[in-house]
Amino acid sequence: MPPMLPDFSNSVKLKYVKLGYQYLVNHIITLTLVPIMLGVSIEILRLGPQEILNLWNSLHFNLVQILCSAFLIIFVATVYFMSKPRTIYLVDYACFKPPVTCRVPFATFMGHSRLILKNNPKSVEFQMRILERSGLGEETCLPPAIHYIPPKPTMEAARGEAELVIFSAMDSLFKKTGLKPKDIDILIVNCSLFSPTPSLSAMVINKYKLRSNIKSFNLSGMGCSAGLISIDLARDLLQVHPNSNAVVVSTEIITPNYYQGNERAMLLPNCLFRMGGAAILLSNRRSERRRAKYRLVHVVRTHKGADDKAYRCVFEEEDKEGKVGISLSKDLMAIAGEALKLNITTMGPLVLPASEQLLFLLTLIGRKIFNPKWKPYIPDFKQAFEHFCIHAGGRAVIDELQKNLQLSTEHVEASRMTLHRFGNTSSSSLWYELNYIESKGRMKKGDRVWQIAFGSGFKCNSAVWKCNKTIKTPIDGPWTDCIDRYPVHIPEIVKL
């Protein structure tokens, strides 16, 4: 078709132009250095060895000058190495695999919903519509207390779930890394909605008999992005304490938060949140250099809490009947988009290659000075990262990010498949996604991973990791028994 052809040939030309431009800008230093080096070497060759020796002898050095210069060089080198931040290694991590007896197929979920909300068929209809479009599969798991008719969300059951999830993940981590409990120097546990006394970190210390001088922290109420907040905290602590190990446990305890009322905005989390947890071992020890899986490169945190609308968009409150639930506002997607924009504006300069940054700068200047109607240039993040782990908060979130960042289906595959197999496991979903990529054998040395998480507040946090060594399959993890069935095609609407 005639109108199509010119576009096509144009885009091909454009592609090559783009590639050439990127190569030029990204390697500008090499490209300028090469002719200079060539020039110098030609000059040297032209001069000949005798001339060079004469040049050398004409330079008068005395002992003091040599010593001072040597000290200066050593001093500068020391200051440089001392002020360099310590490298944080992610030695390994383990994800919790829920027992098959906790599986909740759609029909069971809907059946229970119908029996519990028997006076509100409209709410049941609503839940069914959400479930049909949710992108979840038939193998997601809810904790045992929620399987009862009616659910039994007692504190004992919540503690039981916490013990099951956290201890399984920790045992798995110990096995994988050979870590001894007494070698843990820093322990950070994050669980947003369940905060008993003593804290969950105290529970871990009690179970594994950790050292008495351990630095433990328990972060609660910080939403689904708390996992990356914990990583950030661990990083800061590892800067201060040399030669230390930090264990971060990210989880969300579903039991106490199953909403039993009728308010639609609050029923949404029931349909999406599922059982899950992860335990991560971070270290700043140089000895871990060889076996660590990843190196932490950046963590960027942005908080939109100053804006009232953003603050109230994920809000835990009582409904008309006095039942507590988490209300999600209709502006959630818009606010998430804005938070993301803020985050990537900060992240961009840190990770994007020079070519993209230059383009962005030029378009920015152009928009400000020449013509505000120019389309803002969205930098191509695919050049900065090989893998993307987008928090599996819901199908809409992943769709939105895919559109905004112009990602391909393969880039968001890890997020979509994690949502299908495990549901929204809150702060630990990023780790299930990372495990998916590893299980598929796609993680090679030098690959950069971008983890993005959204959370109540409204926060958008992201972390950048660089793969330290190629990860060979098969690996032990929650995907072991089902990775061969993935990726699956997830229909828009599953007919229930």
């Binding site: 007896t101 909740v104 759609f106 029909a107 229970h112 009862y148 008719i149 039994k152």
Partner: protein
Amino acid sequence: MATNNDNNNIVSYICKRTVVSTKPIEPGKYMTFSVLDRCMEKNHIRMVYYYQSSSTSLGEGEFGKMTKNLKETLSEMLNYYPMVTGRLVRDSEEKWKVKCNDAGVRVVEAKAKGSVEEWLKNVDSEKEHMLVYWEDMYHKPYYWSTFYVQITEFEEGGLAIGLSCFHLLADYTSATNFLKAWSDISLGNKITVLPLFHPLPSTRKRISNHHPYFELINHYKSSIERPIPIKEEKYTIISLGFSHQMVNACISKAQFNGPSGPITMTPFEALAGLFWASISNIKGLQNGLIDMSICLDARKVLGLDYGFFGNTMIYNKVHSNGNLEGNIFVQATRYIGEVVAKMDNEGIMDLIEWLEKNEMNSPKMINGPDLICVSLENVDPYLSVFQDWLKPLRVSCYIEPVLGEGQVLILPGTPEEGPLSRVVMVTLKEDEAIKLFEDDLISQFSPTIFMKC
């Protein structure tokens, strides 16, 4: 008889949940019912199995672990029964079919006071009903579970597993095999009798140049024309055990001389005849027999494996000719024997063919106002042994509702008593049941009374 007040405190319900299979089912599967299934639409089965623990003393929390094992192995076993975890929907012709949507079975946990042995000494049918949970079909059957399992812990030792199911899906043989499959998996073994889901043998290739067996067809026809009685009678269920020797004695008493030598009855024929004669006597017929139908499992006759999952119970009327002279018991047994012989492959296939041709007009409830004697001897429920528990102490069965003269279920006895031992569960009106205990015909065989009125 224990009063209601006493009963209320003995069994306390802890919780109710749904148990699903471990592997997800491929969506979009449906399973349909056969013509024999549809005859049982108004009935449901209840079964109770009693167990004693294999370890002499149970520590704290041990029972919780054992219940956990039971629920986990139930999940695994359900992988083989997609029909059981599905839900009922109506097809285009307003007939039931199962949508295999992975919804699961309901499991109820309960606690009972005392030990299982104490319970068995004093049990009656009302108490036993508390050990097996059942819910009638909801207004919206899409959310209604067709199978219910109740796990009851006896505080001083013992376990009772109650299984109830909608008769449309499964008959006694299938339900027993369901429990057997569960016990196989709990021991870590493979299922010995795998369930088979397929239609009944086809009637298409038959060359029907023989005289069809009209009596069977007529019985089914007449049950359509009969309205389903909605009696408000109070029935009671008693359970009597007959030892191996006693059943032998009963059979030899029923023996008579046929044209080609003495004819020996099967235990079912002998016991059914015994109870038919006795109950007729109690109801006031001195020299005759009341209307009676027998019910047999036709799997073997139809050439089907015992794992065939569904209904193959065939009901047939046994006619008695007015006033009878001489030994009523022997004659009753003879009549039964004759009818059983006529219920062969040809006869049953004729019935199936007729039912398939008359699908629009098929009977909804085949066990009507007669006295019904059901043979449930084809499967041995005592083979269902669970991990941590010994062989079942006792097995009870109820086919409900009973809306006629009464019902006699003949089940196998415990293996220790011998292969011919039988347990007979009789449903009668209260006053008639009391008279049954005093009847000479029955007491001459000194049955053990397992369950009083």
